[in-house]
Chain length 350, copies 4
């Protein structure tokens, strides 16, 4: 079977270069095209010496016809608002598209406008785009031409809370998501004072308080899990002085009449066919480093008898299950490959 | 005026040595006695070279009569359960006592038993002990012989939420405290695998989930702020790969009929006479590094219109306002000194 | 072809668990036996959740007969002084042995005594043992029953300097090795105050000044490279607040009459058949993170015209090329496998 | 006695804001003027909330006449090449000048041209400027109008090596300086990819190899210590994933006929009247964290019998003794104040 030919648009960002890194060990994929506007002309390994010997490709400027000729699928790892301008052209040229940015995640263009401050320019594709969370949309992803790869925080929050909502164990009304992320989530183009090492080292802070763009994405998918009941979410992200990893501490109230005793067991069953979700044994709690470099999400759901609250802790590597790894997992499904192809290795610890 | 003569029991732990560091610049205090069981006989500066030239004292084993002779006030910086065995003797000998550990924080010995797993051995002193949070108990501290210095998480959580409860702005029923701490909070005697550098570096995790000992302390003081109404708290502490700092993200529901528009202003007024609490300007959020090495607590209360929740963010240095600095602030009050004496300097940034 | 059956003795240390992690993706190896004295009886994944689903094995106490029955090769990842007591028994039972500790690295038992403070207990095996640095001893390793896996600092220092000595480009007389290492090199059993997070974070210090045990190992191999001329080395290791990585800055004087203009080119040719040594392009210098999690060594040799000195910079991941990865590279050679089997993936960056 | 009135030009850089932080506790100084081109008009505390309540001043654009009117001394904390354009005007207006940048450190304008790539524009002032290392130029600094505050690396290297050279204990011919610095040394305006948190975290690398601008500064002062004999220096700086601190490991050969047995004692005597240099006891080695936030330099000189080399280890906080603190120490001397005024407090540890 011929290897899937891969294009990566925006290969010099953290998500882009992580897609490349992960694909170097994929048994059924071959990188054929890497683009960058700022560094076009040089080999990718000149920008990232750790890829020397693995990716001979030179960076080139983006050209839809070139990409369509060279690749079967293209990962769009550019900033928000880029994919909606270019996806249609790529799809028409016969390339499958996985967008790492936010452009096709929100189904409602009005919500896009509210949170991203501009009109959506590819409204007609919103209905076709599939939200690329395989644990919930495996079948639809398998048939998709256009996949919206989920955000990093939403991945950790939805995997943590959606089972409880779907199983009716918690009340849709009182959800709080308190998350903490490594700094790489800010991206490689955030060359501003607040992202300098000396500003973030030995420092912890909230940001995007009250208005983070991942809030509507979490709400959209949790509401879907709650069979359409609106799930308003208070979401507070924080920056941790580390490069990789997201930890989510999610709170919800036990639903009236629900039995909390089987909570952990219910999660284990819910994710029994999900190769990358690991519900930890009773009494164990996840650590971000247990996911570092890998596509795993580790989850611990517990019940606080004193206050009647369900607390679900989850961790992922924001660049892998929160971006590049999940994108490859989606690609595997889109091309009929084993869901774990190229991703079946453990985290790096310590 | 003669300098207050200071004893520090347990001077080789992180809280103990921080008390010493801060007192080196106190205008009205003189360290006269430092104790350590494990390192007695050597100069304190042999254990901590950064104190060379500042503290000539040798470490000695603890002796209540010796301490009583040498000191006017003694800071007890030993583990939980130590002070309740020795406080009475010290008080009888005429020394004032500030306990950095938990022994005299909880007013109800039954709660002590439940959370600390043993009987309280100085129940008669519990009524006399004053909870050493100057922003709430300034007058009582001024008259106290025995002060229970608050826990680090409770300091950040109570300063964040008590005003809203006291002013009736939030509902006592739905309080969640999601906190993150630097590792020094674990202390210098936690020489176990989970506290090794390689286990904590680039790692973030919750701990003490459902059963952290600071929970009843937070509940006790928030209930006091709510005029005695019980305030059950879901409290989740997390470990951040940094040495100093606590960040608390506290959630509560707006009280029925309360007007959220003056929230920040109300906090500013509430803390107008508190020299170490800084309510940040509108739109600014606190960072732990803005408190590093200093006795300041910075606070941002905000209202989330979408979900009807009040969110209060606060930061402190866990070793200063969360331990040693607050203890000195208490000492200042107990001896009629200026509340800010020895503590009036800004954080170290970056 | 049947998979090589692998035993790992001391699987709960950092080197041991890294061997396991790397072997989970090795195409020709199967872990059949993992031992630990402290944690025997539990699954390895109970100690290291990141291995869940990859290594079903339970930890067992070490038994030479059991190991010999279950494994074709055994990695000894115990402390210094353990292997010399057990290697003979294992070899006699027909198992190949790769010692990760120092026991068989020094050819001269008198040097062992001087630096390790005890008599060597397997002197007869010293002659047989092969120093497991494939870039220099590839053929002998292929034939070996007993391989002494090099130390982490020596690997970085020897790869940096041996070519220049072998090619006569530098003077054997004035070698200085100034290295900096991540903390994981101290191991997982160093549960002492100096290895706590709060002691190492934001801190940098030298250690082992004048008397580090890796000094004679570096001298032995550099002298071999210098065709037997003694190469006395001043070696100063430092601790960096990071988990993985070694950076070596090595200094030597240009040999009389040597031409420094072809220095970089000479290194590139020297390592042309070494799959894991990457001589960086002119003007690029290595960073430890460019090797993280991988078996690569990146090297930059430069000449300082002003002072007549050759400076060679090199980086490795101390747990991979400096321990577990190099051990697997040795295993590959010992079993006639491709030298890169299971190790052909790039570093994790960022 | 009236407080010295202080101006800080470039108060929003790391050195500038550190001068301000340290002066908040100075007993004889008052900040009267802080300038910033980029943020003029806002209060300094709006940029740095940790200074709230301490520095009411608003940032203003630089005006020499305004500064001269408001201040008795001005600290110039701008980039290299700025001070040489403005110092003359300020001096003529009667203000004393302490330049934190490099403009007046090198006595030879040809060396300036070679290393800084432009002509020196205030050659006439070079003879007047005093190199502001109080341990070597205390008397001249006391009389100076214009002080060139030393670079951070040179401070650590000169304090480490100059005594040995001055006392004839080491050979001027073979000096190597291998230093490692926290990231704040790069400054707050280096908003480029290599200074992002994710690029530096868990990473260690050399930089400025063969051509760092601090090399001629170190050579100039070590040559002065060696009574004019040229001291060529191989200098290699490295970046450590931490914010503050410089560690220097300096190597030199024992001078022919010198007795190494009294090395440590000789250093102790040499620095007996230097309040901020602490020669550590035998067998102790310095750690950067033991200087954090303080003006101390800790030093350990040792002799390596095996190789005949003297090794001197030193640590400073690059922003304090390496910049702002040393500048204030110089100011104290220039105004006849106690050399330690405002600087007499220990490091922050941990």
């Amino acid at each position: 079977m011929a290897a899937v030919r891969i294009g990566v648009v925006g290969a010099t960002g953290y998500a882009g270069v992580e897609i490349v890194r992960l694909l170097t060990r994929h048994p059924n994929a071959q990188i054929t095209c890497v683009t960058s506007e700022s560094r076009s002309g040089v080999p990718l390994s000149a920008v990232f010496p750790h890829l020397s010997g693995y990716v001979p490709e030179h960076l080139r400027p983006f050209s839809p016809t070139e990409v369509a000729e060279l690749a079967d699928v293209v990962f769009l790892a550019r900033g928000n608002g880029w994919a909606m301008k270019h996806a249609a052209t790529l799809l028409q040229a016969g390339v499958k598209v996985i967008d790492i940015a936010a452009d096709f995640r929100l189904r409602d263009p009005a919500v896009w406008r509210e949170y991203y401050g501009c009109e959506h320019e590819a409204v007609d594709l919103l209905a076709e785009a599939v939200y690329g969370l395989p644990e919930f949309y495996r079948d639809r992803i398998s048939q998709a031409r256009l996949v919206a790869n989920p955000g990093c925080y939403p991945t950790s929050a939805i995997l943590a809370l959606a089972p409880a909502l779907k199983l009716g164990l918690v009340d849709p009304g009182g959800v709080i998501v308190c998350s903490a992320s490594g700094v790489s989530g800010a991206g490689r183009s955030k060359t501003e004072v607040p992202y300098l090492f000396s500003e973030l080292d030995s420092n912890y802070r909230a940001y995007g308080v009250l208005k983070h763009r991942h809030t509507p994405e979490i709400e959209q998918e949790l509401s879907a899990a709650a069979a359409g009941t609106a799930v308003p979410v208070t979401f507070t992200p924080h920056l941790v002085p580390m490069t990789r990893g997201i930890h989510t501490t999610a709170y919800a109230s036990l639903a009236a009449g629900a039995d909390p005793s089987g909570l952990r067991q219910a999660y284990e069953e819910f994710y029994s066919d999900a190769p990358f979700v690991h519900v930890l044994p009773e009494g164990q709690f996840p650590e971000t480093k247990q996911a570092a470099g890998s596509n795993y999400c580790r989850i611990s759901p517990v019940f606080d008898e004193r206050t009647g609250r369900v607390i679900v802790l989850s961790v992922i590597d924001n660049l892998v299950k929160g971006a590049a790894g999940q994108a490859i997992q989606n690609m595997n499904l889109m091309f009929g490959l084993d869901e774990t192809a190229g991703l079946d290795f453990p985290a790096m610890y310590p």
